[in-house]
């Protein structure tokens, strides 16, 4: 039972991190970033390279390596996010049909990115070290690996920080005002370009974290961003674009749905349940669970 809850929460943290990134970008600048999977994978490879370099340099302190892996993963993904912004957002955002053009441009980056990773790193999976050690925690007779607990805690802390930042800070208000009324935001001095690049960098960093965490169990491979992208899209839609609490709630729902399905039905049933669930949620609440974006953005 506890094992089930923990694995559901691990999935939820993963999906939450990716989905909030997608949701932020989509709701603030109206760009559906299909290159989020590329950004995700870039962080994994970034962390892999840094860890390799540290090993070569003779650093074996596990804490240093873990910190370096997390920070480099986030930094590389944030940079990848900015790279997507420079290619697909800055040149296109005030052209006609930006929504469609942005979609195509980010899809192109995503496809190209996968091939570039394949050429550079090869098709073989790359491992990342266990960041939180191999230990296990004993709760009521059930042992939970540190890697899972660490993932949940780090994701929760980071998502909490982003939520508070959105509520309290000047940049957060900038982001929220852009979601509500881009024209009004323009008139109080908020620039679409700065907001867009900020959103892309932040969603990048969150995906990078998710990528490093996921690599604990699934390795890094050229296309390892695909699955998180798809589920991230579903979760951000179900959570209601632009709503952090809604997205977190949706991530938890989808985490439990996946954990329960693979435990009691079959792993192969997971996509059916996911898509069924998103259809159900959108039928009942067309704007998603959080639904902050009313009829503001068409």
């Amino acid at each position: 039972m506890i094992e089930l809850v923990v694995s559901a929460l691990v999935l939820a943290s993963m999906y939450g991190l990716v989905a909030i990134g997608i949701s932020l970008t989509w709701s603030s600048i109206g760009m559906l970033n299909l290159a989020q999977g590329f950004v995700f994978t870039a962080g994994g490879y970034g962390a892999f390279m840094v860890v390799e370099a540290l090993h070569k340099a003779g650093v074996h302190d596990t804490t240093t390596i873990a910190l370096a892996a997390i920070l480099s993963g986030m930094a590389v993904s944030a940079l990848a996010g900015l790279f997507v912004g420079v290619l697909a957002f800055l040149p296109l955002h005030d052209r006609a049909n930006f929504a469609v053009r942005g979609l195509i441009a980010t899809l192109a980056i995503s496809l190209l990115g996968t091939q570039v990773f394949m050429l550079t790193f090869g098709a073989r999976n790359k491992p990342l070290p266990q960041l939180f050690g191999l230990g296990r925690l004993d709760i009521f007779g059930v042992t939970i690996p540190f890697s899972q607990l660490g993932t949940i805690v780090v994701a929760a802390v980071l998502l909490g920080a982003v939520a508070v930042w959105m509520r309290r800070s000047r940049r957060g208000l900038q982001m929220r005002s852009m979601m509500m009324n881009p024209l009004g935001a323009n008139m109080v001095g908020v620039s679409v370009r700065t907001t867009g690049m900020t959103a892309l960098a932040i969603s990048g960093a969150l995906s990078g974290l998710a990528s490093v965490m996921l690599a604990q169990t699934y390795f890094v491979s050229p296309s390892s961003g695909m699955q998180p992208l798809i589920v991230g899209l579903i979760v951000s839609l179900a959570g209601g674009l632009g709503s952090i609490p809604g997205t977190i709630a949706a991530a938890i729902i989808f985490g439990f749905a996946e954990a329960l399905t693979s435990r009691f039905l079959a792993q192969s049933m997971v996509p059916f349940v996911q898509f069924g669930l998103v259809i159900l949620i959108l039928l009942i609440r067309p704007r998603g669970l959080g639904g902050v974006l009313e009829d503001v953005r068409e």
Binding site: R176, S177, G184, A185, N186, M187, S191, V296
Partner: protein, 240 residues
Amino acid sequence: MTLLDLNEVSAGYGTMRVLHGINFSIRPGERVGLVGLNGHGKTTLISTIVGMTGWQDGSIKFNGKEIGGRRSHGAGRTTPKIVRLGIAIAPQGDAIFPGLSVSDNLDSGAYTPGSWRQRRKRRQDILDIFPPLTRLLRQSAGTLSGGERRMVSVGRALMADADLYLVDEPSLGLAPKISTGLVAALCEIELGDGAMLIAEQNLPLLAGRCDRIVGMHAGEIKDDVGEALGDMPAQGSHND
């Protein structure tokens, strides 16, 4: 010494020319009323100052810095930069953020770093000007009445630490009693070295409250207000 100086400014949308070679300036500390009938270019003039029209031509100097020039595309691209130089706008109707609370809406007006640090004090000043907003601070702005929305929109502009406040049709669509109160409040604000331009269809609302009133007629500035209002000088006077 002028704060804002427009020299031969034309502007419009697509093939339509709305403003025809406007020459106009505002000095620091001045409160200027801009009156004219609907569709004669008041809103376009305000939009042109902050670079939001489809195209524009001619020099616009703000504090000696050129913010105009010739431009045929990219409407709104320079707006944030111009606003951050110290021009605050309360647009026609409003452009508030419906899903955000009233206090967030007001704070967003203090977006420039200098005003952001003093936002609590500034917000208090706004509440002194518009007391009805005090009890609405936590409420979502999308649920407000028309008059309250307008207060939020104007209040948001006043939150900025700007040198020039552009207020477009503060009375539009409001009940006479509310619009009179709103315009009176606007006209009582201490400007110091700042200046304010109020565009308004309803001359009696501004008469006697502004330092200077100019007219706008068919895309041109008329110093004779009567000429701008044509045959309907008392248009809307029933609002008194």
